[in-house]
């Protein structure tokens, strides 16, 4: 019985702390992740740009990275070629309400 109560309390505390994290630093962390993601995408573009039709001839050293890049190619293409408009920027100004 006590064990069950203890478990429930722990779950509730975890839930509360996650909600608080979402309200406070999550956006901050997300911004940093986004920054890293954008730099990685840029790196992919300058090394394997020919995959999406940009005339960048991959040098030999870039080709050595190919095995590491292959699993991410589809997502990278989707992200890079996705059509964007202002509404994509809306999430950057959260809380405007």
């Amino acid at each position: 019985m006590l064990d069950r109560v203890h478990k429930k309390l722990r779950r509730a505390m975890r839930m509360l702390s996650e909600i608080l994290y979402g309200m406070t630093v999550f956006d901050w962390v997300r911004g940093l992740r986004r920054q890293r993601g954008e730099i990685e995408q840029l790196f992919m573009l300058i090394t394997f740009g020919d995959l999406i039709g940009i005339p960048v001839l991959p040098p030999y050293y870039a080709l050595r990275l190919l095995p590491y890049v292959v699993p991410h190619i589809n997502r990278w293409k989707h992200s890079l070629l996705r059509e964007r408009d202002w509404t994509d920027l809306a999430e950057l100004i959260e809380g405007v309400d």
Partner: protein, 571 residues
């Protein structure tokens, strides 16, 4: 009507609205599949699509949708009496608000993480996306005007506020430096920054400090500098513009984010204290009437009440956040209801608390109107909050300064991000034709000049009504999109279509009334300022009406064309 009774009504609405109606729609109509891959996992790119847990997203969604809107709207709307405002908050959320937030999130998830702009293009017409952009730009411009007006000309003219605001900002900058440059722990950083902020607010209430600002403002009767703007209002708004300028041009980690973070704690602690004080005090409505009259200076109850309270009942902005932000982070479809619907119902609770600060805290319409006349809606909230804080032992003077600073910071953090957005938008829109707009300083200054026109010329309540209309038109569009999507999927759509029709009809009626009143105002204006203000708002209202007419026509055509089998053909 007692405070506790109002809170019980809100709890019942939460239970019936979320626990019964929302769950039923979720289970029987949308039928989320926990095994279906969401765009966050399918397209995980580390930029837009990143999965996050349900609880984290709930906090993120709530913070994203609940700012000054659910506070200002109910405070302005109780002029019709407390009953219409309370009923719209509760029924608006239960039948329209959560529908929009939740369904737009699900629509985003099921349509590969498309945003509202892309969805309008695909489901209605290419023109619909341009109309959405128009609503969005006016929304931001008007929100800048409304918040700039109430913060710069209302809260900042209190000599006990500016220093507190400056110190909280400095504490935020310090927090950013401590975290990024000095690599300090987040808990230590938070404690230091929040302690400095509290100390700053305390110091700003000292007579020696407030007298400096009184002298600077030329109080007790601040002289008029130009138009009807007094020296206090001029300095107050200039401080607001400087804050927004820095927030727009500086790196986000050094200014906007840490100030936002520190202000969160100031706001959260203030709200917590206010709610505790309210529960201890438990005041009744006193002489505050349930209903005053059908028509007040703002306009008749229908349609004006429904655009005065936007956030807190239904807000078009939420659909943007739901599609472009949260839908791309959901781990599984079953998380959409607690995140989208749950956050909207939580916002209803926040709106109810704001409603209580304007009603039970004052106890009479006369006391409420006196404060509203002096310091606008945010001042009413600061005063109401201070009266609640009195009951947990916080001195009234400190309470008013605290409430004012936290609302000022809340308004400013929103404004700086809106200026940032407007700067990026103008660079995207005009940058190729007029390269100077690509310069961050030029884009920011242009956005601030446009804001200044609204802040210094147009009265607060007029801007607020126009802002509410732009916002509710976005809501009407989002609900129309949801109806189209549901029809395409072969699902029952009346639960979104009827709210969409209601929102569009009500908002267009409000805009027609607003335009008519403003055109009438030009003819009878006694000063050139009043005439310019009326003309400005009238033009915006007419543009929005025309845009809404095109949208309704396109939406109706799309609704007639859409058949369930089209779902397979549409990309």
């Amino acid at each position: 009507m007692n405070t506790i009774f109002v809170l019980i009504i809100a709890a019942i609405a939460l239970f019936l609205g979320y626990g019964v109606y929302a769950r039923r729609i979720d289970r029987d109509v949308i039928q989320p599949d926990p095994k279906r891959a969401c765009p966050a996992k399918l397209y995980m790119d580390g930029v837009d699509f990143i999965p996050a847990s349900r609880n984290v997203l709930f906090g993120y969604q709530f913070k994203s949708i609940a700012a000054l809107g659910p506070i200002l709207g109910p405070i302005a709307a109780v002029q019709w009496g407390w009953l219409p405002a309370l009923l719209w908050i509760i029924f608006g959320t239960s039948f329209i608000g959560w529908v929009q937030d939740y369904a737009s999130m699900m629509m985003g998830v099921r349509r590969d993480g498309d945003t509202l702009g892309a969805l309008s293009y695909k489901l209605i017409s290419p023109r619909a996306r341009n109309i959405l952009m128009l609503f969005l730009y006016f929304y931001l411009l008007l929100i800048m005007g409304a918040f700039g007006n109430t913060v710069g000309k209302g809260l900042m003219i209190n000599p006990k506020v500016p220093l507190g605001m400056i110190i909280v900002t400095l504490a935020g900058i310090l927090a950013g430096q401590m975290l990024y440059k000095m690599k300090q722990d987040i808990v230590l950083t938070s404690i230091v920054a929040v302690a400095i902020s509290f100390l700053g607010i305390g110091i700003s209430t000292l007579p020696a400090v407030s007298n400096i600002f009184s002298g600077l403002y030329g109080l007790p009767k601040s002289p008029v500098v130009f138009l009807t703007v007094t020296r206090a209002q001029f300095i107050g708004t200039l401080l607001v513009f400087v804050f927004c300028y820095l927030g727009s041009v500086l790196p986000i980690w050094s200014w906007a984010q840490p100030v936002n973070y520190v202000s969160f704690w100031i706001i959260a602690l203030g709200m917590l204290g206010g709610v505790l004080g309210m529960l201890i005090w438990r005041p009744g409505m006193g002489e505050f009437p349930a209903f005053t009259q059908w028509s007040i200076p703002t306009g008749p109850l229908w349609p004006m009440l429904f655009v005065t309270i936007a956030c807190g009942a239904i807000s078009g902005w939420h659909s943007l956040v739901s599609t472009s932000g949260t839908a791309r982070q959901l781990e599984c479809e079953t998380d959409a209801l607690p995140v989208g619907g749950g956050a909207m119902f939580m916002e209803m609770v926040l709106a109810t608390i704001a409603f209580l600060t304007a009603t039970v805290a004052f106890g009479s319409l006369a006391a409420y109107k006196e404060t509203l006349g002096k310091v606008a809606a945010l001042g009413v909230f600061a005063e109401g909050l201070a009266r609640f804080l009195d009951h947990i032992g916080v001195p009234h003077d400190f309470g008013v300064a605290y409430g004012s600073v936290f609302l000022t910071i809340m308004g400013l953090t929103i404004m700086q991000l809106a200026v940032r957005f407007m700067r990026v938008a103008s660079a995207e829109l005009l940058g190729d034709k007029v390269p100077v707009f690509k310069n961050v300083h030029v884009g920011t200054i242009v956005a601030l000049i446009l804001t200044a026109i609204f802040v210094w010329i147009v009265p607060w309540l007029t801007i607020w009504t126009a802002f509410g209309a732009a916002n509710q038109l976005m809501a009407g569009l989002a609900l129309l999109l949801i109806s189209l999507w549901l029809k395409e999927e072969g699902k029952r759509n009346t639960w979104a279509l009827y709210p969409s029709i209601f929102m569009l009809v009500t908002t267009v009626a409000a805009l027609i009334l607003l335009a008519y009143n403003q055109f009438k105002g030009i003819a009878v204006a006694k000063t050139s300022q009043a005439a310019i203000a009326a003309a400005l708002v009238a033009i915006i209202a007419v543009v929005l009406i025309v845009a809404a007419a095109f949208l309704i026509a396109d939406g109706w055509k799309a609704l007639q064309k859409r058949r369930p089998e089209m779902a397979k053909k549409t990309p």
